[in-house]
Symmetry: C2
Subunit: 126 residues, 2 copies
């Protein structure tokens, strides 16, 4: 994410574009709902309603909003079964699976350092 000084040179234009896109992706994807959705989809394909149950506390709106965003970036694939009632399934794509690996890392980190963190928090709050 090194986003520092550019010269005015024309060949920097591409770098600047790539950087700004990278930053946009980073800003959109680095939020808790997206992460929790990716984590849930890591196990298996899920329907909309299943996701609502799996991702504890997510609202209808946040779920659709984040699913659209993830779909837009090609991180999840949306498959509509034209039945009635409709059935829509969400699956992680390969880039999505790759991202999931890093989210998994963060989940592991959270549990590994839970003790440290809880202690630090108590110390700080005192």
């Amino acid at each position: 994410m090194a986003t520092k000084q550019y010269t005015g040179s024309p060949e920097d234009a591409d770098l600047r574009r790539a950087d700004s896109l990278a930053r946009a992706i980073f800003s959109d994807v680095a939020n808790k709902w997206a992460f929790l959705i990716i984590e849930a989809l890591g196990e298996r394909t899920l329907r909309f309603s299943e996701l609502r149950n799996e991702v504890e506390g997510v609202s209808h709106k946040m779920l659709t909003q984040n699913l659209r965003m993830l779909e837009r970036y090609g991180l999840v694939e949306r498959e509509v079964h034209p039945t009635v009632p409709p059935r829509v399934e969400y699956t992680l794509t390969e880039p999505g699976q790759a991202l999931r690996a890093t989210v998994d890392g963060m989940c592991g980190w959270t549990h590994q350092y839970l003790g440290h963190i809880e202690a630090a928090r108590r110390r700080f709050d005192a």
Copy 2:
């Protein structure tokens, strides 16, 4: 982050507490500013003003807010040099460094899949 059904049994109380703390940490830390700050501090210790320059686009307020949060969880250490003008340095702790590894992973992921993502986004927007 598996946060599913609990029985009413008393021994589940600890699990529930741990889970809710883990979720709180996750919710607080999984935001772009925290990530970008951690990323910047990964290289070396930085002062407040240096961080403002390194973390492009962060406001005074967001920077202090996130630094406090990271300090509270024991992810960064704040060292005040009682000089005048004051000099405050921020350093990643060991848990912070560990988290940085996963954030690095996400940065790497972003750049690796930039092409895929940009293509997907264009397809979606059309």
